[in-house]
């Protein structure tokens, strides 16, 4: 059955290339070869494989057996395990992964149950009540829940005493590309409210994740961080060309608060220089004020950020034109001539060019194509709404800032902008792993009908399942690989219409059952998903395990729970066999317990009925013997008679029973068994003598003289009984 690759790009685990829908001939495909270190000395004679839990592959490597006695003690082989498809690039630790895996279960399950109830509503052709949320709003809630699991790259609260040299706000934690990818998917496919101000959302996104988007080239972020480390060593900051370059770069990507902060480090603000550099300072401040008044087409702005917000487009357009006019006016002002400091004059003029949307200046002020792209929205195409021609603009920016090794986030971005759902899915899987693709499908399908059709269409090539199901199965298999996560796999498997239950059954059948606690947990999962057949199977395996390990009581218990009549009746017949042998005190105790356990249920009833009576007889006999108790002896006689009268008492037990009864027959205080009873026993003995002549008769393990001994005792008793009854 076709499957999705174990996707990983780093960490030495196979990379997924077949997540794409682009067909290729198998000949041209060259797969990667990964080293598998076993640490053995050559020569290696053989390798063998076995699949462990989920995706873990166990490889046994055998050395050529050594006949040289000197090499005694040399290791003969090693078994190593590789888990495939772990989406790990060092960014997220195993423990964090498990936290994400566990945390995403309840949002996922909630969304599935909402999906089911919405589907049943529409099946009943009921219109959803007006109080119901739109579907995308549910997905939005889901998206926010998941997003919060992926870390929070928001900036820390501003410290009380601000360090003037600290231009770059500290992050609480390092941003993760997984969260960055999730946010991209959310903003493009789910969040309908932000569609109108998508460019501004992209500006925010870049501010959060600019540190991630490039593998080998610098970004505005990396240059800013580098510069910040050197600020304290600079005497006259405005003389340094990097200062002005960085201010322009930060302005180009819209990090206005950083720009203003950097501007205020300008030397003309210093009290001792204010007098001499009044005009210069005026110009710096004028630019800073203009920047802080930049109109932004967005509903609100985060605390600490600057700009003037406009919700409605007409207001924004008006404000934008007014702002632009002020810049143009400042640009042509006469004050520039009076500014003696060349770097300041040129730097500020350059910033005005950025704000006026000069393509060349924007291009030289940005490093990465994404930065250039964002600067286009800010200064060249501020009125862009929705996705209109965003893709062609992106291509233009990529041409201008080409990189041969694009980051996985950028590959995803291109897929999204190109509105190619297949590429988006493939990039999610390839770059971010099976967790991402299994969960992000919900975001993708909330956004478009085409995506919905793409992921829900049942494909013959996939054995009749949809892409959505395939990705969930693959994720569930990955979850099954670890002892701490396999128990959440059922939640994903049961959301798969066609093949999920099949995989769940296999998963459960592979769980070890030796430990009771583990078994109970597995049985609980079976009960939850109504897998009665599987739970019986697990109980049978457990029963057999205990049986073979000498814990017969446990074995019978679990076999009974499993209603395994075949094995139980085998056990019952084994009991018969052991009962048939002469019984010492110890083994009597043991099978007595088993008889108790086996109960008297079902088809075993006939045989077990006998065993129960036989047990009662033996008990009374023991009492009578040990305590010389006449009452107990009389009870034993009653049991004896009921046993011998009962048709279900197997013939092969007659002699052992009668042999046991010899003690009663020779009771010192007088005969316990009357004439008619003795006659009955004698008749049985006669019948037995005849039966012994048949070839299939099984001789009980008793002393050879047992029969004669019984006959003699019965004869003696008959005599005593006749005398007693006279």
């Amino acid at each position: 059955m076709p499957g999705l690759a174990p996707g990983d790009s780093a960490g030495g685990v196979p990379d997924s290339v077949n997540g794409t829908l682009v067909p290729y001939s198998s000949d041209s495909h060259v797969s990667a070869i990964y080293p598998l270190r076993h640490g053995l000395n050559p020569p290696i004679s053989r390798v063998s494989v076995s699949w462990g839990r989920g995706n873990s592959l166990r490889v046994s490597v055998f050395r050529q057996p050594d006949s040289d006695p000197k090499s005694d003690g040399e290791v003969g082989g090693r078994v190593v395990e590789v888990t495939l498809g772990k989406s790990r690039d060092g960014e997220i630790s195993d423990a964090q992964w498990r936290k994400i895996a566990y945390g995403s279960v309840s949002p996922f399950a909630l969304l599935q149950s909402r999906k089911n109830s919405t589907a049943s509503l529409s099946r009943m052709q009921l219109s959803p009540s007006p109080y119901h949320l739109e579907w995308w709003e549910y997905v939005m809630e889901y998206s926010k829940d998941i997003s919060s699991l992926l870390g929070d790259p928001k900036t820390a609260l501003a410290p009380l005493i601000e360090d003037p040299n600290e231009v770059f706000p500290k992050k609480v934690e390092e941003p993760s590309s997984l969260k960055a990818a999730w946010e991209l998917m959310e903003m493009f496919y789910v969040d309908k409210l932000s569609q109108a101000w998508l460019p501004e959302r992209l500006v925010d996104w870049l501010a959060d994740y600019d540190s991630l988007i490039s593998i080998d080239l610098p970004t505005v972020h990396s240059k800013l961080v580098e510069f910040q480390n050197q600020i304290v060593t600079l005497q006259v900051i405005e003389d340094d060309p990097r200062y002005w370059d960085l201010i322009s770069s930060a302005l180009a990507v819209g990090w206005l608060e950083i720009v203003v902060k950097l501007l205020r480090l300008h030397g003309s603000y210093r009290l001792d220089q204010l007098g001499r550099r009044e005009t210069e300072n005026g110009l710096v401040e004028a630019v800073a004020v203009l920047i802080s008044k930049m109109p932004r087409m967005r509903p609100a702005i985060d605390a600490g950020k600057i700009g003037e917000c406009f919700k409605a487009k007409p207001d924004f357009v008006k404000a934008w034109e007014r702002w632009r006019a002020q810049i143009t006016k400042l640009d042509s002002s006469a004050f520039w001539v009076q500014c003696d400091h060349r770097q300041t004059r040129e730097g500020l003029k350059n910033m005005l060019q950025i704000m006026l949307g000069n393509v060349d200046v924007l291009c030289s002020s940005t490093c990465h194509w994404m930065e250039l792209y964002i600067s286009h929205f800010l200064y060249i195409r501020p009125f862009t709404a929705g996705l209109e021609s965003m893709y062609s603009l992106a291509q233009k920016c990529i041409r201008l800032k080409h990189t041969s090794n694009p980051h996985k986030l950028m590959r995803l971005m291109i897929g999204i902008l190109g509105e190619n759902n297949e590429v988006v899915l493939a990039e999610c899987s390839r770059g971010f792993g099976t967790w991402m693709v299994a969960h992000a499908i919900e975001l993708l399908t909330a956004g478009s009908n085409e995506a919905d059709i793409l992921v829900h269409e049942e494909r013959e090539d996939l054995g009749g399942i949809s892409l959505e199901e395939l990705h969930r199965l693959v994720y569930a298999q990955l979850l099954s690989s670890h002892l701490l996560t396999w128990q959440i796999a059922p939640i994903y498997l049961t959301s798969c219409m066609r093949q999920g239950m099949g995989l769940l059954e296999i998963l459960l059948l592979k769980q070890p059952v030796q430990e009771n606690q583990m078994l109970l947990k597995n049985l609980e999962i079976c009960r939850l998903y109504e897998l009665d057949g599987i739970s019986s199977h697990l109980m049978e395996i457990s029963g057999m395990y205990h049986w073979k390990h000498g814990r017969k009581g446990c074995a019978v218990f679990w076999l009974q729970q499993a209603h395994d009549e075949v094995r139980l009746s085998r056990i019952a017949s084994q009991l018969f066999d052991s009962v048939g042998k002469s019984i010492s005190g110890e083994s009597f105790k043991q099978w007595e317990g088993l008889i108790e356990l086996l109960g008297s249920e079902g088809q075993l009833a006939g045989g077990l009925n006998f065993l129960h009576k036989y047990r009662d007889f033996k008990k009374c006999l023991q009492h009578a013997e040990s305590r010389k108790d006449a009452d107990a002896a009389r009870q034993a006689v009653e049991s004896l008679m009921s046993l011998m009268r009962n048709a279900s008492t197997p013939q092969r037990f007659w002699l052992p029973i009668l042999y046991d009864a010899v003690k009663l027959l020779s009771w010192d205080e007088g005969p316990l068994i009357n004439v008619s009873q003795t006659n009955l026993l004698l008749n049985k003995l006669q019948e037995l003598s005849v039966a012994r002549l048949r070839p299939d008769f099984v001789e009980p393990e008793l002393p050879t003289q047992a029969l004669n001994h019984v006959r003699y005792s019965l004869g003696t008793n008959l005599g005593r009984a006749i005398l007693g009854e006279l």
């Binding site: 059955m1 076709p2 999705l4 685990v13 196979p14 990379d15 077949n18 829908l21 290729y24 000949d27 495909h29 797969s31 070869i33 990964y34 270190r37 076993h38 053995l40 290696i44 004679s45 390798v47 063998s48 494989v49 076995s50 490889v59 046994s60 055998f62 050395r63 057996p65 003969g76 082989g77 090693r78 078994v79 190593v80 590789v82 090539d461 996939l462 054995g463 892409l467 693959v474 298999q477 099954s480 002892l483 066609r498 093949q499 099949g502 296999i506 998963l507 059948l509 070890p512 583990m518 395996i541 057999m544 395990y545 049986w547 073979k548 390990h549 000498g550 017969k552 075949v566 084994q574």
Partner: protein, 325 residues
């Protein structure tokens, strides 16, 4: 990336994991069977917990018996004899690996053995070097001592024909890993022999009405029927409408689709979905993962290869591992 689970003694030649991946059985040239356990299910370090001498000559193959019949293994030794061993404890005594049963054969060696479960019945298929296939059934599910020979046949599509004794080098058997009770028992079997008719992989199904094993499909194109088969592997099926079986010959690894509805002759439809070639080495072993989506193989080139199908149903090599020091 790779994690070491166990270190094996000098002379170890084969290994096998049990159903849950919690126990490892290995066999060695001096005829020792070793069992490795981790103690704690969370631990991934396996240590040898018991050893038993199972034969005079070396062990060449160890196969676990399904867990429904206890913790037990079948061992094939260098002389080609087959013995069954199980972990057993008499009441309150220490656990021991004990001999349960030996299958002696006069001249033919045992090449492969595999177990299949149907409800409470355990069946064992044994392939011999003279080309004979024997199917045994366990009489008492509580003990591995008494086996009944249920059928004996040759791997031929024409069940009436009989061939003179063949000479086979290896054989590969794989049971249909079905879970439901709806299906009949079936397995696939291929030989590597000097008798061309025996070689090609055939699917055998138990006909309940007539109480006999019948060949229901042959997994080879007409021109490939004489090819010697190195290994076969029947994939788990979690809901596909067809079965998937991998067959390795010197031409490569063929992925076969087997239909579920028989035609009027009782034959099942077959289709070769892929031939994974460009793979020079002779295949030693093939193993499907739990979902039947990924096939892992080993071979004479010493590499572990992983094969998958892409979204268009095209099979290809997904990755390979090269064992290195």
């Amino acid at each position: 990336m790779e994690k070491s689970l166990a270190t094996l003694d000098n002379g170890t030649t084969c290994s096998s994991w049990n159903y849950s991946g919690q126990r490892l059985a290995t066999g060695s040239v001096d005829g020792t069977l070793s069992i490795f356990d981790s103690g704690d299910p969370a631990s991934t370090s396996f240590k040898c917990t018991s050893k038993a001498r199972v034969g005079e000559s070396g062990v060449v193959k160890v196969v676990w018996i399904p867990p429904l019949f206890g913790d037990a293994v079948a061992c094939i030794d260098g002389n080609g004899s087959l013995s069954l061993w199980e972990e057993f404890a008499e009441d309150a005594q220490a656990v021991e690996w004990k001999h349960s049963k030996s299958f002696q054969s006069n001249s033919a060696k045992v090449l492969d053995v595999q177990f299949g479960v149907f409800r409470t019945i355990l069946k064992m298929v044994v392939a011999h070097s003279d080309g004979q296939v024997k199917v045994y059934e366990l009489s008492n599910p509580l003990e591995l001592k008494i086996w009944q020979l249920q059928a004996e046949f040759q791997n031929l599509t024409d069940s009436v024909a009989k061939l003179a004794k063949a000479s086979c080098f290896s054989a590969s058997i794989s049971w249909n890993p079905q879970r439901g009770d709806g299906q009949e028992m079936s397995f696939v079997l291929g030989f590597n022999s000097d008798t061309p008719q025996l070689n090609s992989s055939k699917v055998w199904e138990f006909d309940l009405d007539h109480q006999r094993w019948v060949p229901v499909a042959e997994l080879a194109l007409p021109e490939d029927r004489k090819d010697q088969v190195f290994s076969v592997a029947w994939a788990p099926n979690i809901g596909r409408p067809y079965e998937v079986i991998a067959v390795a010959t010197h031409k490569g690894i063929a992925i076969w689709h087997l239909g579920s509805n028989p035609d009027t002759d009782g034959r099942l439809s077959v289709e070769r979905a892929a031939l994974l070639s460009g793979y020079e080495a002779e295949v030693w072993q093939m193993e499907w993962d739990m979902s039947g989506m990924t096939l892992a193989t080993t071979g004479t080139d010493g590499l572990v290869r992983l094969w998958q199908s892409n979204l268009n149903g095209i099979w290809h090599e997904q990755a390979a591992f090269e064992p290195t020091t």
